[in-house]
């Protein structure tokens, strides 16, 4: 079960404020699909706006990144640079 | 308004071109003579990227009419190296990594040459105040000042 945390404002908009979830998924792609099933529209929003940090490491576009059973997944706004 | 015939000497070569009265020396160098090494950063004499030497005097070519160059000697960045042998300032700027984007570098090299022609042994402060009219946004000036001081030392050495 991956422990997932989304930013408070994204949660406010789609999940009525719930920002932490536990989801059984072995890839980020499937994890996002499950979130979209629970909160319609949340999946595309996460894909468009969010980068993913898995166990402390940021992946900008990481559908294929594998998840360990006890992985900690953070959704964080995509980061631009100057 | 008729175009004016201008004859001048650029980097030691006699040159002639036609100039609208409103054309600046910078426009003439870049658009008429194809010497694009001298750059325009502001057009108002506040950045120094257009620095050239006219009759031995360091000036902003964007604040000078092309017509005023008639009969004058103009030195630009393109004239600093002797063939493929770089001027000591050009070499030191490379060795010290005294440039990043390089856009201000031509103006700074011409201004530094004018400085060392007038003052072969400047202090750090003298270099900084002489070059205050040449803006650089990338380097924070540190390596530029060190490169100029290093080149000055080499050039004094060479003169001995």
């Amino acid at each position: 079960m991956a422990h997932v945390v989304a930013p408070a404002d994204a949660a406010a908009q789609f999940t009525g404020g719930v920002a932490e979830f536990d989801i059984a998924a072995d890839t980020v792609r499937r994890l996002i699909a499950e979130l979209d099933r629970r909160y319609p529209g949340f999946g595309p929003y996460l894909d468009r706006r969010m980068a993913v940090a898995i166990d402390g490491e940021i992946h900008q576009d990481a559908w294929t990144s594998p998840l360990k059973p006890d992985s900690e997944v953070f959704f964080i706004p995509k980061i631009g640079g100057g | 308004m008729s175009r004016q015939h201008i004859s001048t000497v650029v980097n030691g070569d006699p040159v002639e071109f036609l100039a609208d009265p409103g054309m600046t020396m910078l426009d003439a160098l870049r658009d008429e003579l194809g010497l694009t090494g001298t750059k325009e950063g502001c057009g108002s004499g506040d950045c120094g990227a257009c620095s050239v030497i006219v009759d031995g005097r360091l000036v902003c070519s964007c604040l000078m009419l092309a017509a005023e160059a008639d009969g004058k000697r103009v030195e630009t960045i393109e004239g600093m190296a002797q063939g493929s042998r770089l001027h000591p300032l050009q070499q030191k700027f490379l060795e010290h990594a005294a440039l990043q984007c390089g856009f201000c570098t031509p103006g700074l090299l011409v201004a530094s040459k004018a400085l060392l022609d007038a003052n072969p042994d400047p202090t750090e402060t003298e270099v900084r105040y002489w070059l205050a009219g040449n803006l650089c946004r990338c380097t924070g000036y540190d390596k530029i000042i060190k490169a100029v001081l290093d080149a000055a030392a080499d050039m004094r050495q060479a003169r001995v």
Binding site: V5, P7, A8, D9, A12, G16, R48, R49, D55, E57, I58, H59, Q60, D61, A62, T64, F75, I76, P77, I79, G80, G81, G82 | L35, T36, G37, K39, E40, G41, C42, S44, T76, E78, M80, L94, E95, H96, A97, L99, Q100, C101, G102, F103, C104, T105, P106, T125, R128, L131, A132, G133, N134, C136, R137, C138, G140, Y141, D142, K143, I144
Partner: protein
């Protein structure tokens, strides 16, 4: 395909990485031969110019260009109506995610103008004089609207609303009325009230900063050619030719294959050249005129119409226990986005407390549109602004606790295993090492004279990985070409050549780095986000490793030995097969000479999405002297300590540290956008927009701390953006130390410092 390196051991016995060769593109730059945006010309090109709005906010009723078209020499006139009405679509072309509709509207207005300087029409003519004459004859019928520039004014309910379709995102309940607040960002952790309840000391402040510009010396410039067959070409200076291609295609509604963008040298960007302004207009003018079109911005246009970074109002409240443990932090950030949504307040929220391990925190960020030029990225976008507030609140805490400001930061500092406020757990970070380095540096203990002060401040930036492509080709004589898609703003060609040379084991002079156009190399994200040496470098290393693998295979073929018997060292294949005793090593030159017989040209290309960009930390120390009678501030001494991972070319890493510090010092002391009552910028030029000059600054001392990033073969971390984060607060803390009172509003100009001293004297 994504080549993900899981856990490579960071190599340490390196021969070229860490040296300081002269950059391969240097000669052209010091002789004036390098070709920047405005230096490129095409035969028969027209001069393109833009008509810009004189009003900060107005509806466009109509535009009459008939007289303009009649001017002799005018070949094309375009307005918003000549460009597609682009639908809202978020696209990852350069920065995080840009709304294509907003970008198109910023390139040229359609129904309304949202800032003074907003493009409303453009002309192309055979001469500048004809183009100028035409601009003056374009009649635009404006309906003036109320405007607002200041961020808090724009947030108030009675403010004029810029976009009727704009409803604040990120709120619990979707608002019913449109407003100028595009988005609220929120990060929370722990129990804020409980945290503050434990605090023995509180530091609080309302901080204000103004919009500032990246200040690159090269104005935007491009040449564009629309072929009769619809094939378009663009030559321009930008931070990413692929970004220009993507955005230009979107704005003009073209297929990407129909646009080829050739990168020219770029005269500075700092994030400001990560969007398009002129390229779509030049192409549209070229289409209508049938000629190539060259467009070059004036310095005034660069200030009025290209992205500054946000002006801001910030509230910070921090609490600490007597023993120095920071227990709570409450930060609210209100940022100008300019004419369209998209300020860097999100990144500011994520970075503002990231140097600290604070259990209870709340960070709120407001993205607010205003009638000012659309904000663009400026080096670690948003982070310097937020650090100006937080790093001074921390300074106040240290004073109230009677604690050394560096010790307070060491006690609460982020370190491996600490969870960042925005989520991930830090690993392999050198923040504490930077703090210790500053504490030990000579400046920290040097005596101070009268009216002098010392300030310290810290800074963080994520650094970005992202998509990069690199290709390596072996030439017939054994020399090498390394091609990539990232414009070289600060010496990255040198780093690419060094990394390839290191893998090959040859001298860097034999490796020629090239920045290719969009049709000659795989796609690459732009140069920015401190990513190039990390991500593109990784692609270069992997591509070169493929070359070495192929060379070993070719050598095994030549020696007719099993592949495992061949090793690669110091630029040559060595044969370990006992049967081939005495076989001479096969050098690059030798293998290249026989490549036809062993399988053909030797080339390799790698495209990847680099993961694991190591975050960067920096700590700055500023000594300043204030003239109490004039309020003039002089920076006496400045030291920068920064975790640089592994410096590939140390001179250019030092250059980033010094350049970032100088921009931050300018931002702190004298730089600001000044708007008059009509929302018109009063200082659109380098005379009154005061960037630091050579005589303003001391030498900037640098301390490079190398804590390698294991996700890169040589341990590279991004270094370009962190150095601009601390200086605003380092200067602010130094001024506070010198005059005994804190000034909470930038810039710290002489009039403001003198007024503060007078108020203090008046008690």
């Amino acid at each position: 395909m994504t080549d993900t390196l899981d856990r490579p051991d960071v190599q340490t016995d390196l021969k070229i990485v860490g040296t300081r060769p002269v950059r391969p593109d240097g000669a052209d730059k010091v002789t004036g031969r390098a070709v920047y945006g405005a230096d490129f010309n095409l035969a028969g090109q027209l001069v393109g110019k833009v008509l810009r709005s004189p009003h900060a906010h107005a509806r466009i009723r109509s535009i009459d260009a008939r007289k303009a078209r009649a001017v002799p020499g005018v070949k094309a006139v375009i307005t918003g109506a000549d460009l597609p009405d682009v639908a809202t679509e978020f696209h990852e072309g350069g920065e995080a995610a840009s709304n294509m509709r907003d970008m198109a509207l910023n390139v040229m207005a359609r129904d309304a103008v949202f800032y003074e300087g907003h493009a409303v029409a453009a002309v192309a003519a055979t001469s500048a004089a004809a183009a100028d004459a035409a601009l003056e004859l374009i009649q635009v019928d404006y309906e003036l609207l109320n405007h607002v520039t200041e961020v808090e004014a724009a947030m108030s309910p009675d403010a004029p609303v810029l976009h009727a379709h704009l409803f604040t995102e990120g709120l619990e309940d979707v608002p019913s009325l449109p407003s100028n607040v595009a988005r609220r960002h929120k990060i929370e952790r722990g129990d804020l009230d409980a945290g503050f309840a434990q605090a023995d000391v509180i530091a609080e402040g309302r901080y204000v900063t103004q919009a500032v510009h990246q200040g690159y010396i090269e104005p935007h410039a491009c040449v564009a050619s629309w072929g009769a067959d619809g094939q378009c070409q663009v030559w321009c200076s930008s931070q990413g030719q692929f970004m220009v291609r993507t955005y230009t295609a979107k704005v003009l509604g073209l297929e990407t294959s129909n646009i080829r963008v050739t990168p020219l040298e770029i005269g500075g960007g700092f994030g400001g050249k990560t969007v398009v302004y002129l390229e779509p207009l030049a192409l549209a003018l070229s289409r209508e005129s049938g000629y190539p079109v060259k467009m070059v911005m004036t310095r005034e246009e660069v200030f009025r119409a290209t992205g500054p970074t946000s002006g801001s109002v910030m509230h910070v409240k921090m609490g600490a226990k007597a023993d120095g443990t920071i227990v709570a932090a409450d930060v609210e950030l209100k940022f100008q986005a300019g004419a369209f949504p998209g300020s860097p307040v999100g990144a500011a929220c994520m970075t503002t407390l990231s140097c600290y391990d604070i259990p209870n925190l709340r960070i709120i960020g407001w993205d607010v549109v205003t009638n000012t030029p659309k904000v663009a990225a400026y080096r670690a976008p948003g982070a310097p602004i937020a650090a100006f507030a937080v790093e001074q609140a921390v300074d106040d805490l240290a004073r109230k606790l009677g604690m050394d400001p560096v010790d307070l930061r060491i006690k609460n500092g982020a370190r491996d295993g600490v969870k960042a406020p925005y989520g991930p757990t830090f690993a392999n970070i050198g923040y504490l090492d930077c703090l210790e380095a500053i504490k030990a540096c000579p400046q920290y203990s040097a005596p101070l004279g009268p009216n002098q002060g010392r300030g310290v401040a810290a800074g963080f930036w994520f650094n970005v990985g992202g998509e990069s492509t690199a290709a390596v080709h072996l030439n017939d004589d054994g020399t090498v070409v390394v091609t990539n898609g990232n414009p070289d703003i600060g010496g990255s060609r040198a780093s690419m050549a060094m990394m390839a040379a290191e893998v090959l084991g040859v001298a860097v002079e034999h490796v020629r780095p090239v920045v290719a156009d969009t049709a000659s190399i795989g796609s690459s994200m732009l140069t920015g986000g401190s990513r190039t040496t990390f991500a593109t470098g990784m692609a270069v290393i992997q591509a070169t490793e493929k070359i070495v693998a192929e060379l070993k295979r070719r050598a095994a073929l030549i020696w007719d030995v099993p592949g495992e018997q061949v090793t690669w060292k110091d630029g040559a294949a060595h044969c370990a097969d006992p049967a081939k005793e005495g076989a001479k090593p096969l050098t690059l030159k030798g293998l290249a000479g026989q490549s036809a017989r062993t399988g053909g040209p030797i080339s390799a290309s790698v495209s990847l999405n680099a993961q694991g960009a190591g975050p960067g930390f920096g700590v700055h120390l500023c000594d300043i002297e204030i003239d109490p009678e004039t309020g003039h501030a002089t920076v006496l001494r400045y030291t920068v300590a920064q975790d640089v991972g592994r410096a590939i070319h140390p001179s250019y890493v030092e250059g980033q540290m010094q350049g970032g510090a100088a921009q931050g010092i300018g931002w702190a002391l004298n730089e600001e956008y000044i708007f008059d009552r009509n929302g018109k910028m009063e200082n659109p030029g380098f005379l009154d927009y005061r960037v630091p000059v050579a005589s303003d600054l001391p030498m900037i001392d640098t301390i490079m701390i190398e804590v390698p990033n294991p996700r890169h073969p040589y341990g590279v971390k991004g270094v370009g953006e962190v150095p601009i984060v601390p200086p605003l607060a380092a200067v602010g803390n130094a001024v506070r130390d010198a005059i005994g009172v804190r000034i909470l509003e930038l810039p710290l100009s002489p009039p403001r410092i003198r007024a503060t001293l007078d108020a203090k004297a008046a008690g």
